[in-house]
């Protein structure tokens, strides 16, 4: 009697109850069901055919998924029980700064006084929003030591590309077309990808045996056709580029600009500023440093701050204080818009709330404790998984599983997967590419010493198991909602929609 739809009412698919899969919403769907409840408008109905020429109308209804509200709620709630998150446990994923996201900031962003405002409302009606944006811009400039910022870029990579276009506009305004942008071999993949989209060619400089930019190699790579360099400092192996002043001088000497990839800003808040290191352009990942939640992959926000000589090129319009009021002003030589509206505004609001709570001293403590935690973990695990570079690290440490691999055939990936079974998220694996069997731990400042110790014990036990039972590590994880996933199969035979699946 029943349609072929799958039952949606049992929790069997949640780990609480076992390991069954959760049907998709399409598998749960039964035509004729519906959850939607829309307002009774009192407007006289019109047939769509009377409003829209037939040639435009879809002759068939566009079928999505038809669920009762109860089944939708069950479905989505069960999905959340198949998902790890910061709120569930430690997430030492290097380069990602998975710190605790204060609920307070979520409440700020949920306030209808901010959230229900149309982005195109007349400026007189949105003075509060503009003041918020201006305040955030001021704070970000104070934190980075820069002169002005755009809040439009929606994430770090968007900030990078914006920064590169600023670089281009700057050189262009000087009648100075350049071709190349230098990036270290340890850089994040978004850096070279952004360089390409910015219309430049990538020149990669190697890192030295200390994990830092090889200054001589850099000098060799520099030339009058170099538009600039993209660096993150601390860099992606978690080390501070101690020769940053020399690097800046060398780049500036050839007329290049320095771009700061702010993904690792968390380590240096209140300690040292990109502006003071000599950077000209800085993006920030608000979703990392300023604890706006990652949302499973976004939204983020990637404001870009610049020194005063670049201000005139910033994207516009920018919220600007003019005679005690706030206006939208587009900088004189603006590169233009980089977002459909004003950026990820509610993410920006969250970040400002975070900054205001912390203040100067609080942000400095954030950096101190982040670096303390990372160094403690590095040292604590020194005999288990050695650091790739035996030096004090900043907010993250890159360890290497090379020894375990050669001795027992257990790879970094196996260790990472086994950590999932222990209730921790895995570190970042195989990044940066310059370290063999890299395991990049970023504990962040919000994890307690007890958590770090438990994490260290878990890593120790896994590495010990590598000697006695390597097989179990190749098979790990086994207590997770699904066991190790066949990635190759997914790529070989793409099933990217329910319709591909042809169930």
């Amino acid at each position: 009697m029943m349609t072929a739809a799958q039952p949606g009412g049992r929790a069997a698919s949640i780990p609480l109850m076992g390991h069954e899969i959760e049907p998709t919403m399409f598998e749960l769907s039964v035509r004729g069901r519906s959850a939607a409840q829309l307002r009774t408008t009192g407007i006289a109905p019109r047939a769509i055919e009377s409003m829209v020429p037939a040639s435009h109308l879809n002759p068939e209804p566009l079928v999505t998924a038809d669920l009762a509200e109860r089944d939708l709620v069950g479905h989505v709630t069960r999905l959340t029980h198949r998902q790890f998150s910061v709120d569930l446990g430690a997430y030492p994923l290097g380069s990602c700064t998975m710190k605790y996201n204060p609920k307070f900031c979520d409440a700020i962003a949920a306030d209808p006084g901010l959230a229900s405002v149309h982005p195109g409302a007349p400026v007189a009606m949105v003075q509060g929003w503009l003041e918020l944006l201006v305040t955030l811009e001021e704070r970000l400039c104070a934190i980075t030591g820069m002169a002005a910022a755009t809040l439009q870029p929606a994430a770090g990579a968007a900030g990078e590309l914006t920064g590169l276009l600023l670089m281009r506009a700057f050189h262009h305004a000087n009648g100075d077309e350049r071709r190349r942008v230098i990036i270290p071999d340890s850089s994040h993949g978004t850096n070279p990808a952004s360089v390409t989209l910015g219309g430049y060619q990538v020149t990669t400089v190697p890192s030295n045996e200390r994990g830092l930019v090889d200054l001589d190699a850099l000098r060799a790579a520099l030339g009058p056709d170099v538009a600039g360099i993209m660096l993150t400092n601390p860099n992606t192996v978690g080390l501070f580029e101690e020769q940053i002043v020399e690097i800046a001088e060398a780049v500036h000497d050839v007329g290049g600009l320095l771009y700061y990839d702010g993904a690792n800003l968390n380590a240096i808040l209140g300690v040292v500023r990109p502006g003071d290191m000599g950077f000209d352009i800085v993006h920030m990942n608000l979703h990392k440093t300023f604890a706006t939640p990652h949302g499973g992959g976004g939204p983020g926000a990637g404001p870009v701050a610049v020194s005063s000589r670049l201000e005139q090129f910033l994207p516009g319009p920018r919220a600007t204080r003019v005679d005690g009021r706030y206006e939208w002003v587009t900088p004189k030589s603006s590169i233009g818009r980089v977002h459909g509206w004003h950026g990820n505004a509610l993410v920006l609001a969250r970040a400002l709330a975070y900054i205001e709570v912390h203040g100067a001293a609080g942000l400095e403590r954030v950096a101190q404790h982040a670096v303390l935690n990372a160094n403690w973990l590095r040292r604590r695990l020194a005999d288990t998984l050695p650091a790739a570079y035996e030096r004090p690290c900043m907010h993250e440490c890159v360890l290497t599983a090379t020894a375990v691999k050669s001795a027992h055939g257990v790879r970094g990936l196996d260790i990472a997967k086994a950590l999932l079974d222990e209730g921790f998220h895995a570190p970042t694996v195989y990044f940066p590419l310059i370290v063999d069997e890299a395991l990049m731990f970023e504990p962040t400042e919000t994890e307690s010493p007890q958590t770090l110790e438990a994490l260290a014990v878990a890593v120790e036990s896994i590495v010990a198991r590598a000697a006695t039972d390597p097989e179990s590590l190749h098979r790990a994880p086994s207590h997770t909602p699904v066991s190790r996933v066949d990635e190759a199969r997914a790529a070989r035979h793409l099933i990217a929609t329910e319709d591909d699946a042809e169930r």
Binding site: R46, S116, V126, T190, R337, G340, P449
Partner: protein, 455 residues
Amino acid sequence: MADYLPHTDDEVEAMLTFLGLQSLDDLFAHIPAAIRLAAGATGLPEGRFEPDVADQFAQFTRANRASAGQLVCFAGGGAYDHEVPNVVKSLASRSEFVTAYTPYQPEVAQGVLQALFEYQTLVSRLSGLPVANASLYDGATALVEALNLAGGSTGRTTMLVSAGVHPHWRAVVRTFAQGTGHEVVEVPLVDGVTDWSSVDVDEAAAVVVAYPNYLGVLEDMAGARAHATRLGGLFVVAGDPVAAGVLRTAGDWGADVYVGEGQPFGTALSFGGPYLGLFAVAAEHVRRLPGRIVGETLDTNGRRAFVTTLRAREQDIRREKATSNVCTNQTLMAVTAAIQLGWLGTAGLRQVAVASATGAHALFDAVTAIEGVEPLVSAPFLREFAVRLARPADEVIATMAADGILAGLSASSLTGGPDPSVEDDPSSVLLVAVTERRTQLELDAYVESLRKAVR
């Protein structure tokens, strides 16, 4: 002294001792002293407690006078006041979604991955194209990615963009073209419909049309498609996904690439962000897709599992040869959209489109009966339309705001001046959007208020 740090002073002490350090400052000893920040040098204010900061934000919100409780929203222009039920908000705000990272470890990320798979399916159906990615930043930047794809695919650089594409999107396209070197050609509208014949090019990488366009007009899609074919370019449709509830899909019209703004599906107006860039392509473009894509596979026990796939396109693997630089996208909005579409269902999606159109047509009929309010164009529209006023639109908007109505957007506030989309001065053009949330009483109040305001 507010922060979220767990460490007690004793614990910090003990950790420093373990490291053989005296003070937290020692952690930074290797940073050159010359660039170290002096205490207080940032000029940042001191921290305050959450309730104090809440008071500060309450001042911001008091200084806004455009929130839902204050103004009834008839503004659209790419940001719509659709119903977002509490059930969608409460599901989408579950912390497992909110506080997860990009699903790099699929074994503990099936929740986000499956939700994205469902999202991709829905976007695929809305677009009528077989493959959708797992989201991009917003509609505007999605269009940029589409042009990049078209450029890569055709090896050409000329981008024909209808002036009916939202002016902000066109602006964003122009910005990024500075890096890619694309030549962006804006094709003017005549009576609201793109006049492809007005542009004299032989070939193009892409032909971009908005459907409906930003004036609300239902474009001549067959004509646009034919033009793309003629020029050998990809046919890129920037489509309103709500309209897909009744209109033929981009795929039906032969699109190669679909982009759209997903905000109408569960995301509040949010002052413009975070929104949701929709992106789908015809099968042959899969390997050029920007951003993440989730695929179905099996785990070692043979159970269904989801995972991000075709990763070789992405920046972290392909670096400077990646199809795009995007990394963090708008996953939470994509998950929200999937939940909202699950809530709407087949009938609800259609109902939203029809009810919005009904309200828009009722309002159009009523306002164009007012002296000093003329239809801008004669072309058919769905839920958004443009009128020419006897007074500057911005003045009318300001006047009507005093009646508690956000009357719409002035075309010039989007275009920033003369624009190929409007034959005359855009500053007296008002764009009006009606969603399914607007009632007859609100329409009546609108008409009354506008009547006074244009006088």
